[in-house]
Symmetry: C2
Subunit: 418 residues, 2 copies
Amino acid sequence: MKIKDELENLGKSALEASRLLANLSSSAKDALLKDMAAALLASASQILKANKKDISFAKGKGLKESFIERLSLNEKRLEEMAESLLAIAKLNDPVGEVIKVWRRPNGLWINKVRVPIGVIAIIYESRPNVTSDCIGLCFKSGNSVILKGGSEALNSNLAIFKVLQGSFLRQGIPCGAISMVATKDRRSVEELLKLNDHIDLVIPRGGEDLIRRVAEISRIPVIKHYKGICHVYVDEWADLNMAEEVCFNAKVQRPGVCNAMESMLVHKDVAVRFLPGMIKKFKQAGVEIRGCAMTQKIAKGTKKAREQDYHTEYLGLVLSVKVVGSFTEAVRHINHYGSHHSDSIITEDYSSALEFTRAVDSACVYVNASTRFTDGNQFGMGAEIGISTDKLHARGPMALEELTTYKYIVFGSGQIRK
Amino acid sequence: MKIKDELENLGKSALEASRLLANLSSSAKDALLKDMAAALLASASQILKANKKDISFAKGKGLKESFIERLSLNEKRLEEMAESLLAIAKLNDPVGEVIKVWRRPNGLWINKVRVPIGVIAIIYESRPNVTSDCIGLCFKSGNSVILKGGSEALNSNLAIFKVLQGSFLRQGIPCGAISMVATKDRRSVEELLKLNDHIDLVIPRGGEDLIRRVAEISRIPVIKHYKGICHVYVDEWADLNMAEEVCFNAKVQRPGVCNAMESMLVHKDVAVRFLPGMIKKFKQAGVEIRGCAMTQKIAKGTKKAREQDYHTEYLGLVLSVKVVGSFTEAVRHINHYGSHHSDSIITEDYSSALEFTRAVDSACVYVNASTRFTDGNQFGMGAEIGISTDKLHARGPMALEELTTYKYIVFGSGQIRK
């Protein structure tokens, strides 16, 4: 069978199964999530065996150490995956929540009710744990899911998938509820993204290249973030000790993630007091600083920041620094160079704090806190399927609720329109 | 200047203005809406003069009477347009609404706050009143709007636009807040739909062809409905008098709109009692019936429905009728042939009613009421910018709230991530 037809069949089964999933009880879903967690642990040895194949193949191809680290599974990681499924079982079921309800003068009773989106495709790269996380989140929110993982993790993903599929079959859930595009054929992604009659939403997870490619060719709506160019702005009224702590945390605690600070803005009136100590601390932690002319003046020996630096997501121990003449300049810089992901102001001034939250057009805007909190778990959502810098449907951290839409259920007693 | 550059400038101004609109007070917005309403009435003669030009041009081109009817303005229609702006002024401002708010164990205070989407493009066909409606709705919800109307209504649209633009300039709102692509050059739509860096959302309003073309070429997210194939299912437990009234209303009261019934399903156990009288009533009202074999048996002389009929939005006095063997068959038929817009069950059976609302995957699902209520005004939203059969972002009637997104505003006191 051609890959196109295979995928269309996959889409059809997923759509069919989604009708059943939409009305599955929370207790049935939670029982299955617990069964999945147990099955993962019980099948640890076969999953790790499959993972070893992927790792030796990746090593043979000479892939980077950091890549192999992301690809690798062990007992502890499998336990975390199982725990994650148990945590999802404990979360509130978003399906069926009545978002709003009102009665019209003619007696019509209008209910805006949360329902699953339907069929969700996840396209991801090397981490095999994404497989079980996404199956857990999509299932709990009542959606069918179609997974397409990176080809380097194919054996691991398939092993995890088969174990979880076993749980679904034991509970009599139609097999379309979860499916995996288990091929290294690159055309499969293109063909998958054409199935707009069967798939309602695509979430790409991975590097910017992957996400751009998906967004470009997809005929299905995509929710995504390309990158995180997050700022901390140290206001003229900042508590400079707090500023130092927060900026250091935002940059250094885990520099390789999208909510880490990539650019630090400092008001000119505090630059001389703040920058020397701050930059010294950064340098001690191995952070390379690229500064504006004023920064270079204040902290001798600092490398010059070019225009391009302010557009760059380093994902590592590099930081661009700019001294700004005013609050307004800071806000303009963030809205222009930022990625509308997460930005923070450090200030003790009430009006600056409030104005910053209004004027900065980002998914998450912070006052006096590290940008590193933009995360489903840190927000208290219990899980995360991704972060969106899109404005439509979902913005910021996405978890169960963001995997739902709504329908209007209207109860009448024979009303007709005059 | 090339059309591409012109549109890019338009997009830039719109984006710039949107930052200001996002934080405009409700009272400033409402005052401007009232000023617009007054300006429309004060400039009636010049608008009607421009409209006459469009009409005589349309007549010269031999366009249909129904087209010219939609295009035509008069004193009364202008009054309605002004009233619509005043009604929008009276609606609650959705911007700034705190959707959810919670505190995390570390003291972070997370606010999920409603904010405007940003820049919205509306692509529409012949009705000039859409111009003022869309300006009113986008402005009240804090969005910049870029309008591209049908070329046959260009003079009318431009006259209305210029009058409303006068109100904006008098209040000192940047001119990018509202703009119009005032050209008959068809490439302008294609170029507009490429501005994904400046425009956040496109809403096409018009026939299915226009909407399909927009959805196909747009690089900007589109919210849309292609068509409304709405069903009423007369259950075996229906109150047949109610069924007759509701079905008649759903088909005949205004057959040319998307929430009118196009297909009627009848349970086999009531078909013999229900269909003869119902079909007679339809025929008296000039409705052409296309029925399944069973319908033809019961109501002699009924035309045969082909498979394609169940896929067709007639937008006129034609109705497909099918006798179904069971509730389940009815639901399957609706989910398969319907457009996921609005579908209704007529029943006195509690379980059928509830199961129908769960199993039918449509934006609006009714029990014992006409599908004709799917409408922003009828839902009590006070206005309507369109109806969505998409599942993402907005579903069903769309008004002010659906023209917003949200941001997270997080207040801290120096929190860093451990």
